[in-house]
């Protein structure tokens, strides 16, 4: 089962406003692009026509926080600006 199938079991109340944004200028010099395999919701996608190759979608984010740590806080990367979705919006787990 691929992660996209797994994500079909998850519910969101998607906000109009993005709680995470990616500044692709940083991605241009990012060699290993760990976002592509470390985000557990595949929010980061490689698309050759994007600046730095990274296309980011906040909608399926499960709000784990990983991209803040491995990119936003990394002095050599820093493309990710991370915040929490507005009250009542974002991922909604049933089971926990």
């Amino acid at each position: 089962m691929g992660v996209q199938d797994s994500l079909e079991t998850v519910q969101w109340d998607v906000s109009e406003a993005a709680h995470i944004t990616v500044d692709n200028d940083y991605c241009v010099t990012c060699e290993d692009k760990p976002c592509l395999h470390l985000c557990p919701a595949e929010c980061f996608d490689y698309q050759a026509d994007q600046k730095g190759g990274i296309y980011f979608a906040y909608e399926p984010c499960v709000e784990c926080g990983a991209c803040m740590v491995f990119c936003g806080n990394d002095p050599e990367k820093g493309a990710v600006s991370w915040s929490k979705s507005e009250g009542g919006k974002g991922v909604e787990f049933d089971f926990g």
């Binding site: 079991t9 290993d32 709000e63 990983a66 009250g87 009542g88 991922v91 926990g96």
Partner: protein, 437 residues
């Protein structure tokens, strides 16, 4: 003196925050419990086993009242090595005397918040806290609601691993890859009877399984299976630093997602019998603090105290996780500090007093005692060489077809000589293991 809206504002309605709000409300304090989710538990993820003694002290009737899954009677540690597995099982009916249960936070947190509200706490859902500031004689919690700022004497930051309170106030230093583990988890519908059959359990008994050794030699990567009433949870945990470099071809090439490792894990011959016929109910992901006692960040600033995961109070003991009860205990200590400050009419000492009490509590004593564990668990030999030696030795003992000959200790010695581990490594790791466990 500035008028305050509440004596204390608690940010985050996980168990840590809710325990604090419950305690303060029971003591007739005006307390608000602010939560960004629509309902408690909707944003929260655990494994997991609640070691419930501390909750039983606060709410003695919880085992009868709370929505719990199974009463844990069995723990298993499994070392994987290729197609083989060496396991240590501990089953003890005396464990039924202890209030340790598997739980799902979706149901449990809702119940616990209802109990806090019954005591008089004001629950404020659908509200994300953006910042906390302090003035001379009060603190203010800034939320994303219009006119949603709340003035109070003290703030308890119980907002989990990615704490807003800790980061916005600068109490917590910036978290980096070595401080954090990533976890992904699946909740699978297996059915109550099938669980009892597969895991050899009776009625409401529960079991916990922890695995390491896959992929071979990759440090900090582990897996778990926990039994719920009708479902099981199966998940993977890995340090971000290792995951960043863990590759398709094995450890040290770049690029394997943790969810792919979990997929491979559930297909292993030794694991599949427990999870097969899976009907996936939910997929989840979350970070998990992986700090040692020495690397824990600060936990307070005057009128602000961080509790639970927000303060990094989680310990991966290798054979079990602790965090649920540490959260509850730290929340209670923050509440007790508020009670003491109110009695003295001086709230300036709120954070410092909490921190001192936490230092003397079993939570930090535990973390101190196990302070070498995180480092020990990063040792590659624990995930490759040693499970290999164990399986090879046992193969020699039990396999008629094996070419192993001679006494068991000789076979063990040969297995050791064939492994990557040196004699000094073994001595060093043995010493480290004894020292950290």
């Amino acid at each position: 003196m500035t008028a305050v809206d509440f004596d204390v504002v608690v940010v985050g309605a996980g168990r840590a925050g809710t325990a604090a709000a419950y305690k303060l409300a029971a003591e007739d304090f005006d307390v608000a419990l602010v939560e960004r989710a629509k309902q408690p538990g909707m944003k929260n993820v655990t494994g997991g086993v609640l070691y419930g003694q501390i909750l039983a002290d606060l709410v003695p009737e919880f085992p009868e009242e709370a929505p719990l899954e199974r009463h844990v009677v069995e723990h298993n540690i499994k070392l994987l090595h290729g197609d083989a597995e060496v396991s240590i099982g501990y089953r003890d009916m005396d464990l039924l005397e202890e209030p340790n249960y598997t739980l799902m936070l979706g149901k449990f947190d809702r119940w616990f918040v209802d109990r806090a509200v019954d005591e008089g706490a004001v629950f404020v859902p659908e509200t994300t806290v953006r910042d906390v500031t302090q003035a001379r004689d009060h603190a203010v919690v800034h939320t994303d609601r219009e006119n949603g700022d709340l003035a109070c004497h003290a703030v308890i930051g119980a907002d989990g691993v990615n704490t807003t309170v800790g980061r916005a106030t600068g109490i917590q230093r910036t978290m980096r890859n070595p401080d954090m583990a990533l976890s992904v988890k699946k909740v699978i519908d297996v059915g109550r009877d099938t669980i009892n059959e597969r895991f050899n359990l009776d009625s409401d008994e529960g079991a916990a399984y922890i695995y390491t050794g896959f992929p071979e030699g990759a440090p900090t990567i582990g897996y778990f299976i926990y039994t719920y009433d009708e479902y099981i949870s199966v998940g993977a945990v890995g340090g971000l630093e290792v995951l960043r470099w863990l590759g398709d071809e094995g450890y040290a090439e770049s690029g394997t997602p943790l969810y792919s490792l979990l997929e491979e894990f559930v297909e292993l011959d030794t694991v599949r019998p427990y999870v097969q016929g899976e009907s996936l109910q939910e997929y989840q992901g979350i970070l998990l603090p992986e700090l040692s006692y020495e690397s824990l960040p600060d936990r307070y600033d005057r009128r602000i105290a961080l509790v639970g995961d927000a303060a990094g109070l989680v310990l991966n003991k290798g054979y079990t996780f602790r965090g649920l009860d540490y959260g509850i205990k730290s929340g209670l200590l923050a509440a007790e500090s508020a009670i003491a400050c109110d009695r003295e009419g001086n709230w300036e000492a709120f954070g410092r007093r909490y921190d001192q009490w936490l230092e003397n509590s079993y939570v930090l004593q535990d973390m101190k005692q196990h302070r070498h564990l995180p480092e020990f668990l990063k040792n590659e030999r624990m995930y490759g060489a040693y499970p290999g030696i164990a399986t090879e030795t046992l193969r020699g003992m039990y396999s008629a077809g094996s070419d192993a000959q001679g006494l068991t200790w000789k076979q063990a010695y040969r297995a050791f000589r064939n492994s990557d581990a040196g004699f000094l490594d073994l001595l060093k790791d043995g010493y480290r293991g004894l020292r950290s466990l």
